[in-house]
């Protein structure tokens, strides 16, 4: 009798184990569960979603033409008709703020993509092949690190100044280029460190011993295990790039009127800060929220993927 119950218990345990196989979670799944319960993550995700929609379909938020100036309404305060008031030229501040999201998001996303791509490729190659290539690349990043981010951007933009005829996209790509040139070294260094950490692992050695080609070792074994820090830092950087774009536009060397951007709006509003503060306040709030959302998202993701935080 006792023997029988023993068998039943054992069978039960086996069945349970089989069930657990289905439920058992990988690091990514666990991180995802953690993230879903994090209010900061939800808030930043919602904010980012709103900004993205705003950048792609600004027409969903406003029917007012942002390029329509009504001079006689110059600097009217906010009211039911014009929620954020009007600026010196008589433009609707609400419409301009909505349309301004596009420049920030485009510059932020493109600069992040470029820096990540460049940094990941260069950092991985340097760490994987090592030797003289590694030394050269790392000294090159040292050179770039010596240049302060914003100062470098100002230098680049004033060396290749905008002309009156520069189109919107040519100016945007120039800003992206400036930010990418200055931003890749930090990603490359981070990636190099991560790859160096992954490379001596036994599973990389095992892959070599089982005949994997260098390309497959990098793609299947090194990249998936070394990407996490770069992804987090890239997300935080996205916020920083948006701020940098606004700074350059504010200084008059990034986007310029008639292009619509938060930085340009803030710059134009400064002279009226005491008489018509709404022209300054609303684009500033949007800019801060956008930067904050990306930084918060990066933070939340980093915490979720860090097993030490559990």
């Amino acid at each position: 009798m006792t023997d029988q119950t023993g068998i039943i218990v054992a069978e039960g345990a086996v069945a349970q184990e089989a069930d657990n196989v289905g439920q058992a979670q990988s690091l990514t799944q666990e991180a995802w569960r953690e993230l879903r319960r994090n209010p900061l993550f939800i808030i930043s995700l919602i904010l980012i979603a709103i900004f993205l929609v705003m950048a792609v379909f600004p027409g969903l938020f406003t029917n007012t033409d942002p390029a329509k100036a009504t001079l006689k309404l110059s600097a009217t305060p906010p009211s039911a008709d014009q929620w954020f008031g009007r600026d010196l030229q008589g433009y609707d501040v609400y419409a301009r703020t909505i349309y301004g999201a596009r420049a920030s998001i485009v510059v932020g996303v493109m600069a992040t993509l470029c820096t990540s791509l460049l940094g990941v490729i260069i950092g991985t190659l340097a760490a994987f092949y090592g030797g003289i290539l590694d030394t050269l690349v790392m000294r090159l990043t040292d050179v770039f690190f010596a240049i302060p981010f914003l100062l470098g951007g100002i230098l680049f933009m004033s060396t290749f100044p905008n002309t009156v005829n520069s189109g919107y996209w040519s100016v945007v790509s120039k800003v992206v280029l400036a930010l990418s040139i200055l931003g890749w070294p930090s990603i490359a260094r981070l990636m190099r460190g991560a790859v160096l950490q992954v490379k001596p692992n036994d599973y990389v050695q095992a892959a070599r011993a089982l005949g994997a080609s260098p390309w497959r070792i990098v793609r299947s074994h090194i990249l998936p295990n070394a990407m996490a820090p770069v992804m987090v830092v890239s997300m935080i950087n996205l916020g920083a790039f948006i701020a940098a774009e606004a700074s350059l536009s504010f200084l008059g060397i990034g986007l310029v009127s008639p292009a619509i951007s938060w930085g340009v709006a803030i710059s134009d509003s400064l002279s009226l800060i005491r008489t018509a503060p709404w022209i300054l306040i609303f684009p500033s709030i949007f800019l801060s929220l956008a930067v904050l959302a990306f930084i918060m998202l990066g933070d939340a993701v980093r915490d979720a993927f860090d097993p030490k935080g559990r």
Binding site: A18, S26, L27, D202, A206, L210, G211, P224
Partner: protein, 343 residues
């Protein structure tokens, strides 16, 4: 299509001559470090035939793992350097082969399993994916065929509920199961030679026995040449056909497994055998070999074992003994091997 679970005939360009698969001749490996040159291997000779299991025995730092890595070609060079020697697989020297051609021998011809199966499996992919990867990389199979093969292999190495577990990650398996998966990956392409570098060191004793018998079973089923690297004399006794004992980068004794257990011909082997706890000698103090293995940057002149040897004479400090025949199928490198044998 040939199945991966049944032994297949080798149709490759590599054909063993008289069953001889691997010949290591006069292999030297040194590591160039900031502090000097460490001579990890100083002239090692051995060969492996089809269906034969050679155990390479030695303590940490004796050069047994480096030998395995040199055969596989996964030593990091620099700092490692192979100043002389050859590793011939079916008559082709692996050391002078172009890297791309050599890479293609890893997996289908010579394969390897590692000590710690958890760290030898990629934590970011399911185990089935990793086994299937072998077929996709080397045989160009499509995804579903490769997965079917992976399940079949997992069943072959006795993983329960293989179909369900093929999508599980390495950390969801126990130590023994992980080593089984590592073995499945290593034998997936039907290698002629399998190198097992301390395959059971990270496992507990009961699991050790299971893994060893699985290895033995696979070796006999596929007629593989197996090189078993270990420091554990108990592990090799049942599985190995021949044993090579390494000390300070040299083989000091090589013999059939029965002969060596019955009568060692080198004082070092004798010391190793005496240090195994035995049930019939209760209450006695366990004998150990005094001292430490030599620093590989300053290997003592003469016989490298002389500072620790109880039988050392002047000649041992002066002349290095060569590995010579001391009986049928057995060699030893000791000036006094006759005395040790007859003791």
């Amino acid at each position: 299509m040939a199945t991966a679970t049944a032994p297949t005939a080798h149709t490759s360009e590599y054909q063993p001559q008289d069953g001889l698969l691997l010949e290591v001749e006069d292999l030297h490996v040194e590591f160039h470090t900031r502090y000097g040159v460490a001579k990890a291997i100083n002239g090692v000779n051995f060969s492996v035939r089809q269906g034969e299991c050679l155990a390479i025995l030695g303590e940490s730092g004796s050069g047994k793992s480096v030998t395995a890595q040199a055969i596989m070609g996964i030593l990091d060079m620099p700092p490692a350097k192979i100043p002389q020697g050859s590793v011939k697989y079916c008559g082709h020297d692996l050391l002078t082969m172009p890297e791309d051609r050599r890479r293609k021998t890893r997996g289908p011809e010579i394969s390897m399993i590692f000590q710690d199966a958890l760290s030898s499996l990629n934590p970011t992919f399911p185990v089935g994916w990793q086994i299937a990867e072998m077929f996709r990389e080397h045989r160009g199979m499509n995804k579903s065929d490769a997965y079917a093969q992976a399940v079949r292999l997992m069943e072959r190495v006795s993983i329960p509920a293989a179909k369900q577990r093929v999508k599980a990650y390495p950390h969801q398996f126990s130590g023994g199961m992980r080593q089984r998966i590592m073995i499945a990956m290593a034998i997936s392409l039907d290698p002629a030679v399998l190198i097992a570098d301390e395959p059971t060191t990270a496992l507990d004793v009961t699991v050790q026995a299971q893994i060893m018998s699985l290895l033995q079973e696979l070796q006999q089923e596929r007629h593989m040449g197996l090189i078993l690297i270990t420091h554990d004399l108990g592990v090799v006794a049942d599985v190995a056909d021949r044993i090579a004992v390494m000390y300070a980068g040299r083989i000091v004794e090589q013999a059939d497994v029965r002969d060596i257990y019955a009568k060692p011909a080198h004082p070092y082997t004798k010391g190793l055998l005496d240090s195994i706890p035995r049930l019939d000698l209760k209450g006695q103090e366990l004998s150990a070999i005094g001292g430490l293995p030599p620093n590989l940057m300053h290997i003592p002149p003469g016989c490298a074992f002389n500072p620790r040897c109880t039988m050392a004479q002047d000649i041992c400090r002066r002349d290095r003994p060569e590995l010579v025949e001391v009986g049928p199928h057995r060699k030893a490198a000791c000036h006094f091997s006759e005395e040790v044998l007859n003791a």
